[in-house]
């Protein structure tokens, strides 16, 4: 059998050659593949936005590291900068964070093994965000159970390094860009979200939710700034869900 070192498929060869440290390091290296670079660039754009909205470098980095999920990061800085209360900002953040629960439920059983400590699992679950999660679901099944948690911790740590370094460089570089390039950089974040949601929207309800969210967001912002994001999510999402359930 040919060596399958780069991802899903057969058991990678390094599994037979090294222990937990190798599994971790091989996970770290995943950040150097395309998804890691995309993450770096999106963090770059996030930092430019955070800077424009009046956040400091330290606050932008903390937001990236502590939240570690781009939609919630953007919502948090956006809501705070627009004068929403911490409660309103927190509620909008939570509405996008609930989707992490089923993602965690999907991946946790994959890395369950007798030797795992609770602390390591709590650290690993922090890395549950789209990029690391997709790579984990793709790569973990090919590994023996006792190597999976180490490998996922490596993937998550590498992606975290991509996010934090992207935030750092984005913040610094954005300050030096001419306004037009700065504007193009800021424009990339909404476009990135829309494209990636269109790419992963499998069910009709998801596509209807994108459309309704896009249509309802601006009028709700004019009518009820501060709570517009939660209204858009709850109203648009619920209607999309109901339509989707009726014609599966």
């Amino acid at each position: 059998m040919k060596q399958a070192d780069d991802g899903a498929g057969g058991t990678p060869r390094w599994v037979h050659e090294g222990g937990q440290a190798t599994a971790f390091l091989r996970g770290l290296a995943v950040a150097l593949t395309v998804p890691g670079w995309v993450l770096f660039l999106t963090a770059f754009g996030f930092a430019a936005l955070a800077r424009e909205l009046g956040f400091t470098l330290g606050q932008a980095v903390l937001t990236s590291a502590a939240i570690y999920a781009l939609p919630a990061q953007v919502i948090l800085v956006d809501q705070i900068a627009r004068g929403a209360t911490l409660y309103a900002a927190g509620f909008a953040v939570t509405l996008t964070a609930v989707r992490l629960l089923p993602m965690a439920v999907n991946i946790v059983p994959l890395w369950r093994a007798p030797g795992n400590t609770r602390l390591a699992e709590i650290a690993a679950v922090h890395f549950v965000a789209v990029t690391a999660w997709v790579e984990g679901l793709r790569r973990l099944p090919a590994l023996p159970a006792e190597r999976r948690l180490s490998h996922f911790l490596g993937i998550g740590t590498g992606m975290m390094m991509a996010t934090v370094s992207g935030t750092l460089t984005g913040f610094i570089v954005a300050a030096a860009l001419p306004p037009l390039l700065s504007a193009a950089l800021l424009f990339m974040t909404p476009l990135y979200f829309l494209c990636s949601m269109l790419m992963t929207s499998g069910r009709p309800a998801d596509r209807i939710a994108i459309l309704l969210g896009a249509l309802l967001g601006p009028p709700f912002y004019l009518l009820a700034p501060g709570i517009d994001l939660m209204l858009t999510g709850l109203v648009g999402g619920t209607i999309a869900f109901l339509i989707g359930e009726r014609r599966p």
Partner: protein, 118 residues
């Protein structure tokens, strides 16, 4: 201009929102493990709500921007958004094509406007 307190208070506010409003859902997922149906109706609804919210956020970032993007005319922003989405849907469903086409359109349209109005 600072959005929030530059001292400990600002960092603490970010950390509290991150842990309470965000991280708690990851911990709940870890605790529940296999115990729930991750593809059930409840989570299909959650997914739709989250999707609509982020889509609304995107349009708001484009229509009511702040900072440097606010210096770009509304028409240019709308044309660039349409170009980006159309390129993504019609040419190739890769992020690079959608984002690249949109950003290039923004620069091109705004650059052309700049030449005419100078």
């Amino acid at each position: 201009m600072n959005a929030i307190d530059d001292g400990l208070g600002g960092y603490l506010a970010i950390l509290v929102v991150a842990v309470v409003a965000h991280e708690s859902w990851r911990w709940l997922g870890l605790a529940l493990g296999r115990g729930i149906d991750a593809d059930g109706a409840l989570f299909r609804w959650v997914r739709a709500v989250s999707t609509a919210l982020v889509a609304g956020l995107c349009l708001r970032l484009v229509l009511f921007p702040s900072g440097a993007l606010a210096g770009i005319t509304l028409g240019s922003r709308l044309i660039a958004l349409a170009v980006g989405i159309a390129a993504f849907l019609l040419l190739s469903r890769t992020l690079l094509v959608g984002i690249g086409a949109g950003a290039a359109a923004l620069l091109a349209v705004e650059g052309a406007l700049g030449l005419f109005t100078r």
